[in-house]
Point group: C2
Chain length 69, copies 2
């Protein structure tokens, strides 16, 4: 389950993975793996990402249990 919202928010902010990674002080691979849904990131990292991208946790990391399927 890829994290499309994160990728879109990043692109809205005109950043590539490397730039976002530097801003939140992780490696590019970490960002890549979060976007591809293969990492289970730390809350603090999620918050840092949200702050940089001007979003909230719900915006980027929350999914309603009743997402229209």
């Amino acid at each position: 389950m890829k994290n499309k919202k994160l990728k879109m928010a990043r692109l809205e902010n005109d950043m590539n993975q490397a730039q976002l990674a530097e801003r939140v002080d992780v490696t590019r691979q970490t960002i890549s793996l979060i976007e591809s849904g293969r990492y289970n990131p730390t809350l603090n990292l999620c918050i840092s990402i949200c702050r940089v991208l001007g979003k909230t946790l719900d915006d980027l990391f929350w999914e309603e249990d009743n997402e229209e399927s």
Copy 2:
């Protein structure tokens, strides 16, 4: 920085730490340390907690940068 919101949501649901821990499949200590702000939990754990307590990530784990001080 304690997580008061989490503790309050837990009490609203009439649960003690042990019960919440069992529901989200971690140990009581993990819940205790998250509430006391000493743990940096995993996103998936945060989401599990939210689901059990009927809250969202923003409800329990987000703080506006401009919280009135």
